[in-house]
C-alpha cells in the first residue's frame, strides 16, 4: 500500500463530513448572533489549504478568517534579506530555501544578486547545504529562515558536526510571541486563534496556555487537511460562543501537550530568542532565533563582515516603502487595500513579501482570486471578508 492510499483512507477529506461541519459552523455562528466573528490563523499552510479546497467560499459569511503573520517568508525582515544579499554581493557563496529567492530586500532580492553573478544555491533542506559544504572548500553560508519547525532542522545540522566552511545566517522566527503582539494591537478584531499544527508539533500545545490566560482568547490547534481546518474552526467558534478562553488540541495525531522534547532540546541548545522586527508587523520580543554564543564559529554574523551600509548606499529603497504587507498580516487590511496589489506588485515582480511566497496572503489572493459574489446577480466583486475561492481564478491585472 502506498502512502497516498493510506492517507486517502484516513477520510480527512470527506465532502459529506465537510458539509456537516459547515452546517454546524453556521448554526453556531447564528447562536452567537453578531457578524462578523473574526478569527486568525497563523500558518501559510492553513491559508493554502483554505484556498486550494475553496473553503473560504463555503464558510459562513458571518465568519471572518484572517490570515495572520504565519508565512515565514513574508515576515523575514528587509534587513535580514539585505544581510544575505550583502554577503552574496561580497562574493560569499550562499545557500537558502527556494522560497527566499525573490523576497525583496531594500533594493535587491537574492534572485537579483544571482542574476548579477552572485553565487546562490537553492536547497530543499539544510542537510543539502551541509552536503554541499562538504564537497567544496570555500565558505558556504546557509541563510536560515522559517519558524520553529524549520529551525529545529537547522539546529540538528549545527549539532551534527558540520564542516568548518559551513556557516549559518539565522533569520529564524518563533511563533508564540507574535500571537501576543497581534492580540495586543489596539485595532485588533481577532476573537480567537487557529494555531499551526506543525509548529505545535515541536512546541506542544501547552505553550499556548499562558497566552489564553493572559489575553482571554481561545486557541485551537488544527491540522492541514480540509476537515482538520473545518473542525478546528468549528471548535474555535464554539469556544467563542461559550466565552471559554482555553487551548484545545484538534490535531492529536501530531500534537501533544509537551511537544517534541528532543527537538526542543536541540532547538534551545543551538538558538536563543531575541527581540527583533518581523517584516511589516512590529518589533516582536523574543520573536527571533539567533545562534547562541557557543556556536559563534558557525555564525555568519560573527565570522563575516556584512556591510549593510555599503549595500544601502548603493541601493536606495524603492516601492517597498508603499507596501502594506504588515497591516495585511496583522489582519487590519486586505490585499485590495494596497495600491500596489496586482499592478506594481505581481508574483512575477513582487514588491512585498506577501506576494512572493506561495504561502503569502497576496500571492494566494492573486492566484485564486476574489470571491464571486453570487448573491446579487453574480457580479464578481472581490471583497475582503471570505474572499478567496478555489477553482475560480480571476485576474485582477494584466500579467
Amino acid at each position: 500500500m502506498s502512502a497516498a492510499a493510506g492517507f486517502n483512507e484516513l477520510k480527512f477529506r470527506d465532502p459529506l463530513r465537510a458539509r456537516a461541519l459547515l452546517e454546524r459552523l453556521g448554526t453556531t455562528l447564528e447562536a452567537i448572533g453578531r457578524t462578523p466573528v473574526s478569527v486568525m490563523h497563523v500558518c501559510g499552510s492553513h491559508e493554502q489549504a483554505i484556498a486550494r479546497f475553496g473553503l473560504r467560499a463555503t464558510l459562513p459569511r458571518a465568519l471572518n478568517v484572517i490570515m495572520g503573520p504565519g508565512c515565514p517568508v513574508c515576515i523575514t525582515d528587509v534587513p535580514e534579506v539585505d544581510e544575505g544579499v550583502a554577503l552574496a554581493r561580497q562574493g560569499v557563496r550562499v545557500a537558502t530555501y527556494g522560497d527566499m529567492m525573490k523576497v525583496p530586500g531594500t533594493k535587491w532580492s537574492l534572485a537579483d544578486v544571482q542574476a548579477r553573478g552572485g553565487r546562490i544555491d537553492v536547497v530543499y533542506s539544510v542537510s543539502q547545504a551541509v552536503e554541499l559544504a562538504r564537497r567544496i572548500e570555500e565558505p558556504l553560508v546557509f541563510f536560515a529562515t522559517g519558524f520553529e519547525t524549520t529551525a529545529v532542522a537547522t539546529a540538528a545540522a549545527v549539532l551534527d558536526n558540520p564542516p568548518p566552511n559551513f556557516f549559518v545566517l539565522s533569520a529564524h522566527k518563533y511563533i508564540p510571541p507574535v500571537m501576543e503582539i497581534v492580540a495586543e494591537m489596539p485595532e485588533t478584531r481577532v476573537e480567537g486563534f487557529l494555531a499551526a499544527g506543525h509548529a505545535a508539533t515541536i512546541t506542544g500545545w501547552g505553550v499556548f496556555e499562558r497566552f489564553v490566560e493572559r489575553h482571554r482568547l481561545p486557541v485551537v490547534v488544527a491540522g492541514f487537511e480540509p476537515l482538520d481546518i473545518l473542525a478546528g474552526l468549528l471548535r474555535l467558534v464554539e469556544l467563542i460562543r461559550d466565552g471559554r478562553s482555553v487551548v484545545e488540541n484538534m490535531y492529536p495525531r501530531c500534537v501533544t501537550k509537551d511537544g517534541n522534547l528532543r527537538a526542543q532540546e536541540q532547538l534551545w541548545r543551538v538558538f536563543r530568542p531575541i527581540g527583533g522586527r518581523w517584516r511589516g508587523i512590529a518589533h516582536v520580543p523574543n520573536g527571533n532565533l539567533r545562534l547562541r554564543s557557543e556556536w559563534s564559529r558557525l555564525d555568519a554574523r560573527q565570522q563575516f563582515d556584512i556591510d549593510l551600509q555599503a549595500l544601502w548606499d548603493a541601493a536606495p529603497p524603492a516601492l517597498v516603502q508603499q507596501c502594506i504587507c504588515g497591516e495585511i498580516m496583522a489582519g487590519l487590511k486586505g490585499p485590495h487595500d494596497c495600491a500596489l496589489f496586482g499592478r506594481d506588485c505581481i508574483p512575477e515582480a513582487p514588491v512585498g513579501a506577501c506576494m512572493v511566497s506561495s504561502e503569502g496572503t497576496c500571492r494566494i489572493w492573486h492566484e485564486y482570486g476574489g470571491h464571486p459574489d453570487l448573491s446579487d446577480g453574480g457580479t464578481e466583486v472581490p471583497h475582503y471578508t471570505n474572499a478567496v475561492t478555489a477553482g475560480g481564478r480571476h485576474d485582477f491585472c494584466a500579467r
Binding site: 502512502a3 497516498a4 493510506g6 492517507f7 486517502n8 484516513l10 477520510k11 480527512f12 477529506r13 470527506d14 465532502p15 459529506l16 463530513r17 456537516a20 461541519l21 454546524r24 501559510g44 499552510s45 493554502q48 489549504a49 486550494r52 479546497f53 508565512c71 515565514p72 517568508v73 530555501y97 527556494g98 530543499y124 533542506s125 539544510v126 542537510s127 543539502q128 529562515t145 522559517g146 519558524f147 519547525t149 524549520t150 529545529v152 532542522a153 540538528a156 549539532l159 551534527d160 499551526a196 499544527g197 506543525h198 508539533t201 515541536i202 491540522g223 476537515l227 473542525a231 490535531y251 492529536p252 495525531r253 517534541n260 522534547l261 528532543r262 527537538a263 511566497s357 504561502e359 478555489a390
Partner: protein
C-alpha cells in the same frame, strides 16, 4: 517551506530513513524525531527532517474525534496531493 508532509517509512538507516511520499522515495533525517521509527510507520516530514512519528492509534483517535463531531461521502479531485507532490518534488536531489 512550511508544508509538513506525511510519508510511510520503508527502510531505516542509522540517522536517516527511506520514506515513501505518494510514490516518491526520499532520504529523510531522523535527528529530530522523538521516537524510534520502524518500517511501516508514518512520519511527518518537514524540510527533510522527520519531526513526528504518527502513531496509528492517534490516527484512529483523530478519526473518532471527527465521528463524534459528525453523523454523516462523494469524489472530489485531490488538489492538496498536488501541492504536496510539489513540495516533495522540490526535494530534488535529496534522495
Amino acid at each position: 517551506m512550511c508544508l509538513g508532509v506525511p510519508g510511510k517509512v520503508l527502510v531505516v538507516h542509522e540517522t536517516s530513513a527511506t520514506v515513501d511520499f505518494w510514490g516518491l522515495r526520499k532520504e529523510i533525517r531522523l535527528d529530530v524525531v522523538d521516537e524510534p521509527v520502524q518500517p511501516g510507520d508514518y512520519i511527518l516530514n518537514h524540510v527533510g527532517y522527520a519531526i513526528r512519528r504518527i502513531p496509528p492509534e492517534e490516527v484512529d483517535a483523530t478519526l473518532a474525534l471527527y465521528e463524534e463531531l459528525l453523523k454523516h461521502a462523494v469524489e472530489q479531485p485531490d488538489l492538496m496531493a498536488a501541492d504536496i507532490r510539489g513540495e516533495i518534488a522540490a526535494a530534488g536531489e535529496n534522495t
